[in-house]
Amino acid sequence: MSSEKAAPAILICNPDSKTSSEISKCLKENNYSTVQVHNGIEAQIKMSKQKFHTVILDMDTQKHTAFEVIRYIKFNSPSSRIIFTYENQKLMDELNSDNDFAFKLGIHFVMKRPLDFKALLNNIESNNLAQSWKNVKKIADVVNETEKSIQDEEFTRIAINQYAHSELAIFDLYLRIGQNRYLKILYKGCSFDNNKIEEYQKKKVEFLYFKTKDRGIYINFVNNLIEKYLDQGKINKRELLNLNKGLVEKYVEEIFFKGLNPELYEEGKKLAENLYRTIKASKSLGRYLDQFEEEEKNGTSYIFVTSIFAGAITHQLEWAGPVAHKYVIEGSLLHDIGKIKLSEDVRYTKLESMTPEQFKEYKEHPLWGMQMLAESSFISEQVRQITYQHHEWVNGEGFPNGLFGLRIFPLAKIVSLAGDFSEFIHEKKVSPLVAIKEFIADRETIFRYDSSCIKSLITSFIY
């Protein structure tokens, strides 16, 4: 795959055109594309039409002040970084009297004018880590594989048949040969050696390993790759679903280990969009749904399968449009985030084996999840409500509020069915096609769910 180098776009909002031109010139010389505006209204209009990687916003902005522009960014473009510039030191000292002005407003960097352009570039670059794969330079291929002693906690793994790659290795790749022992098989910048990987597959190697610090890079890379394949319409659907699966696993891991931040949430939105497009493009989705089997009991595979089924159900519902699709898949990816707060013994105990005390704690996780997501203004209310209500049942026997039928948020009903069906498949260890018949046969079970959702689930298997 040849990587296209799209210049990150920077919006410069400064009432003084001379200053904004100087900033623009510096950025363009460093391969950024820029847009200059001179008041807050123009800034918002530009942002409504185009996504910007960074907004360089001056304190003196008028006609919608800098603070109104910041508010707009927080609601409408939360992944855009904000570099706040100022000239009046006295005013800045007053604003920053409690030393958390930037933190409170969600500003990433504060810089005094006249700007140090080197520092400005560093600040912009530091936001660009996830996309660094686009700038990987080719180095001479290294043939030798080196053994390294590195702590297991520094690594993440991916199934060898799910690993997506470029022509160049975008980071170092390893095999695990023992506790805290790794074999470096590919170096960043070397040509990606497919033959080597195939050889390892023949030797029954199951997983490739890379550093957790590179996980964000991998997520961004695969999201872009899937988008490209969807645009081209060339890849086979099974491979596409496989790529999506590996990506969802890494995405969920990243949230669990690093927490949810605006950039990661934007990756999630892109992932959700890619999943939606994959589902929409799969005329015979039933064939792929049937052949999905959860390979191992880990939370991340369950999330992927839930997202696929949730997307498939939504696709069949006549009232659900693109907006509903978007929220359903985003919600599926995050709906169990509250489980982070469960104690270990509860998290790893099967529902049917839980003591009453354990189950009582378990029933808190939807509310905890909702509260975690409520802390971030960039998360939509729809995603929060999916998280909060995904264990409500239409017969009123769900939790946390025992809502019934029409009172349950419709998108939560979709994720509720998709999640429970995913669990059912795993418990029974059968293919989804076999599982659906058994699932529907249990009248007590099926009346927990919205009937139109069940119909849609069954229909999604028919091809």
Binding site: A324, S380, P410
Partner: protein, 155 residues
Amino acid sequence: MNMMKENEGALLLVDDEELILDIVANLLEDKVNKIYKAKNGEEGLELIKKHSDIVCTVCDIRMPIMDGIEMIKHVRKLGNEMPFIFYTGHGNEDLMLEVVKYGAFDFINKPGLEDLEEIFLSGMVMGEKIYNLPDDQKENSALEFNRLLEKLGKN
């Protein structure tokens, strides 16, 4: 979404900001049979009692005299389960926890009003369906599931 037909039902808009009422009414007037407007929950409740053609409500949370939570509580007490679409905004998180207990159909994020059209259309479709629910829907559903499963078995 493939249902962009004209609905028979009416839409109720409830907001203490007249500008928002006018903007939203303007955006949706071509897509619905009739729009009613109210400036607070109490006015909205009276309109619902008076006009049985209202099948969906778009409602703000924070309003004087009667807020969105009180309004939906009263509507539910009337036995009316119509879809309520709420405006959300930063700082309303606790109110959201309360209002969903009475059944919020969807949410529109202020100040952007993005996705308004699709959410509103879904609400109207659902609102009209609610009034046409058969009494024996459970049995009908079970029969239909079996018919679909038979079809699945043939694939």
